[in-house]
């Protein structure tokens, strides 16, 4: 069981959170031409890194906010969490 530091509520049990996928994916710019390949990449293709990974998590049973988590996918160690408008250093 992970203990995750929500930027709004502090340390909470993993039970209160939902995993939200890769936090580095950027949505293509609005009103721009985009190829099918690029769209396919945005919608479906994800990296599966071994080691540090920036992810999105949702504090679904808490403050109901999305935030970023930098986690090691091997050890599950959490290095940093940040609000959506903050950068993970």
């Amino acid at each position: 069981m992970l203990s995750i530091k929500c930027p709004f509520c502090g340390y909470r049990s993993q039970k209160e959170f939902a995993y939200g996928g890769d936090g580095t994916v950027k949505r293509p710019e609005l009103n721009q031409e985009i190829s099918d390949d690029k769209w396919n990449e945005f919608v479906y293709l994800r990296k599966s890194p071994r080691g540090k990974h920036v992810e999105l998590w949702h504090h679904v049973a808490g403050c109901r906010q999305w935030f970023k988590v930098q986690r090691d996918t091997v050890t599950h160690e959490i290095f940093q969490t940040a609000k959506m408008n903050e950068e993970i250093k």
Partner: protein, 194 residues
């Protein structure tokens, strides 16, 4: 329209669990709180309105993980820029509406969609610990936290420390499950449903 409380067919008055040879003061007390006006106030993300100016029934909005209260109204922090208001003043929204303009705030009446269970007694913390992953002992009076109880999303509102009194809020649709979950946890200590 007739209002039927969410636990109307579930909550039975009496003593249950290990209550033999125990005085009423030693038993946990479980009750349903109903007949309240409940509404959610959410400030829009693009709003720069200063909420510290607002006084609702004389109460300011609480900081994170806290609540403010008077004899009739409680305001709970429910998330960033989001608050839950509970009041016995059933016309509170109508009275205070002019403080909240539609550009900055969304106000939603959710009086019909919440279950509130109140637990009272010295063993309340032990009951909560059985299903909730929080550090329950660190919670003090006027703290309020969202969490889970045996998988059901809840809000815990600490009403008083002496006597220990806590309100557990859940969605009405989960009310029956939450009630059974809490009362099952109370059986070991003995409880009086009032």
């Amino acid at each position: 329209m007739i209002q039927v409380s969410s636990l109307n067919f579930v909550h039975k008055v009496g003593k249950f669990g290990d209550h033999d040879k125990k005085s009423d003061n030693d038993l946990l007390k479980v009750s349903e709180i109903n007949g309240l006006l409940i509404f959610q106030i959410a400030k829009y993300k693009n709003s720069s309105f200063d909420t510290s100016k607002i006084k609702l029934d004389g109460l300011s909005f609480p900081s994170s993980l806290n609540s403010t209260s008077n004899s009739k109204t409680r305001i709970l922090w429910y998330g960033p820029d989001c608050w839950l208001v509970f009041s016995y003043n059933l016309d509170l929204i109508d009275k205070e509406k002019n403080q909240f303009n539609e550009i900055d705030f969304a106000i939603t009446d959710i009086s019909h969609s919440r279950t509130i269970i109140e637990l009272e007694g010295s063993l309340v913390n032990e009951v909560l610990k059985k299903g909730c992953p929080l550090d329950i002992n660190s919670l003090k009076v006027d703290n309020c936290v969202n969490s889970v109880y045996n998988g059901v999303t809840i809000t815990i509102d600490i009403i008083s420390d002496n006597p220990k009194k806590v309100r557990i809020l859940g969605l009405r649709s989960f009310g029956e499950s939450l009630y059974h979950s809490l009362t099952d946890s109370c059986l070991e200590f003995g409880y009086k449903a009032v």
